[in-house]
């Protein structure tokens, strides 16, 4: 039985919460009613825990494109990008993404997770290269480092000086240095000082990878991400992203001006040995990308909703993790508080995301509200009312108690 012993401790909690019907990790959307509504436990609920930032899940053009691809190309590719799974749609969206980002090259992977995994493991040689990772980077970046087998050094979150010190200490014999950061970090909704990181990385001859999974389509004048907002789109070495948030599909990509990024197609096992995204998912992502390019109003609406919600939650005295961002996290001191507050919100007809240590950056548990441009005024009213009631019921969630 020793194979399963390790599950014992967490399984007890998991089963206990599931038995009570109060487990944030087993929520089922029984019926999807629109971009911001679903039926959960038989009740119509406002979705504020999905990452549908630009409300593209029901974009008519994206649905039409997906249906057309289904009819013309079938349900799946039944193969990997490297072998028999590259259709015209895959190469077309690579060109479209590269053009949108102003980069020369783009490689599409099967998910955002796989894109970071495949980029890091494909780029880094464990015998001569080192990866330096922001302390708060997503699990897929850490797993990419593990898969690469290369020496991995962690620096303090959003702290270019901490990176500078660690780059300065490296053995001069080390050849390649890859620095990994994110644009917007999805737990707190805080953004990276990308410009400063570019300067520090390049001063030491290191390459910089910026994961813009949560900021693509949202930050910057034209929605290219935090790197655009920081004015350094042309200076970052690798830009990774996902189709599963602003583009409301599934897939991932890495874009770059380094022609060598194309070599990932034969050097990256997560590219070579997993099935490629189905034609319809590629088609809907492509249509969503066109829509985002042509409709800056989506971004404006998102930021308007962000402003309204962040102001309301601040006014309630809730302890917020960061300034206004599409992710607005309320910090709670204990896991028990977070479970109770999450359930309280669900009972109010509001679904948010709950995160607990060690999946969170600090020692706090948090409730993550993900804002959408598709949230209607009525949705926002319901969210504001539910958080107001929560602030009353849970003094631990407030700054002053």
């Amino acid at each position: 039985m020793s194979l399963f012993d390790k599950f014992e401790k967490n399984a007890a909690l998991y089963n206990q919460l599931s038995a009570l019907g109060k487990n944030p990790f087993t929520v089922v959307m029984e019926e999807v009613l629109g971009p911001t509504r679903a039926s959960i436990k038989g009740r119509e609920t406002v979705l504020a825990g999905t990452h549908n930032y630009l409300g593209q899940t029901f974009e008519p053009a994206a649905i039409a494109a997906a249906k057309e691809a289904l009819d013309k190309e079938g349900t799946g590719t039944t193969g990997s990008r490297f072998a028999n799974g590259t259709f015209a749609g895959h190469t077309q969206i690579e060109r479209d993404l590269a053009a949108f980002l102003g980069m020369q090259h783009c490689v599409v992977f099967s998910t955002g997770f796989v894109a970071n995994l495949g980029a890091i493991a494909g780029l880094v040689d464990p015998s001569q290269d080192v990866v330096l990772v922001d302390a708060d980077c997503h699990a897929c970046i850490y797993d990419g480092c593990t898969l690469s087998g290369a020496e991995t050094i962690r620096f303090r979150h959003n702290d270019p000086e901490s990176l500078d010190k660690r780059l300065g200490r490296l053995d001069p014999k080390i050849k390649g240095k890859l620095v990994c950061i994110e644009g917007m970090y999805s737990m707190y909704g805080d953004t990276a000082p990308v410009k400063e990181f570019v300067e520090v990385a390049h001063k030491h001859g290191a390459h910089l990878l910026v994961d813009e999974a949560h900021s693509f389509g949202i930050y910057g004048e034209t929605g290219k991400g935090v790197s655009e907002a920081e004015g350094v789109m042309d200076q970052i070495d690798f830009y990774s992203g996902t189709f599963s948030k602003a583009l409301a599909s599934i897939g991932g990509f890495v874009a770059s001006n380094h022609p060598e990024v194309e070599y990932l197609r034969f050097s990256s096992r997560p590219y070579k040995f997993t099935a490629s995204p189905s034609p319809s998912t590629i088609a809907s992502a492509g249509a969503a990308l066109r829509n985002i390019k042509e409709t800056p109003a989506l971004r404006k609406m998102l930021w308007k909703n962000v402003g309204r919600l962040h102001a309301a939650l601040t006014q309630y005295g809730l302890r917020l993790a960061a300034g206004p961002a599409p992710v607005i996290s309320v910090l709670l001191p204990t896991r028990e508080d977070a479970f109770a507050a999450w359930n309280f919100l669900l009972d109010q007809g509001v679904y948010v995301n709950m995160a607990i240590p060690p999946g969170t950056p600090g020692k706090d548990s948090l409730l993550r509200l993900a804002v959408s441009s598709a949230h209607t005024d009525e949705d926002i009213d319901r969210l504001v009312a539910a958080y107001g009631a929560m602030a009353e019921a849970f003094p631990a969630a407030r700054v002053t108690g």
């Binding site: 850490y142 480092c145 060690p358």
Partner: protein
């Protein structure tokens, strides 16, 4: 890995040990008596991210870099202390 006697750095070792214990104490909710043999995860129930955060404090204090790969290979306080000494020897 060298023992304290072999490496002849007993006093320094003690300082690293004490520094780590100081950083672990706030996380020692079960009141375990800290010694070199204490297992960070099994005995102290410290999660892997907390161990990484403690190591970052050590890195900044001694001005060394301790790879994540090295930390994931250490289980006990003593192994962590020894790993820090090995890196201090190389980089210090």
């Amino acid at each position: 890995m060298a023992t304290m006697e072999q490496s002849g750095i007993q006093e320094d070792d003690d300082l690293v040990f004490r520094r780590i214990c100081g950083l672990l104490e706030p996380l020692n909710h079960k009141g375990v008596k800290l010694s070199r043999d204490v297992d960070l995860v099994a005995d102290l129930e410290v999660d892997s991210v907390s161990v990484l955060d403690i190591v970052m404090d050590i890195e900044d204090y001694y001005d060394i870099s301790i790879p994540v790969n090295t930390i994931s290979e250490t289980k006990t306080i003593g192994q962590l202390v020894d790993a820090i000494h090995a890196i201090k020897g190389q980089q210090g």
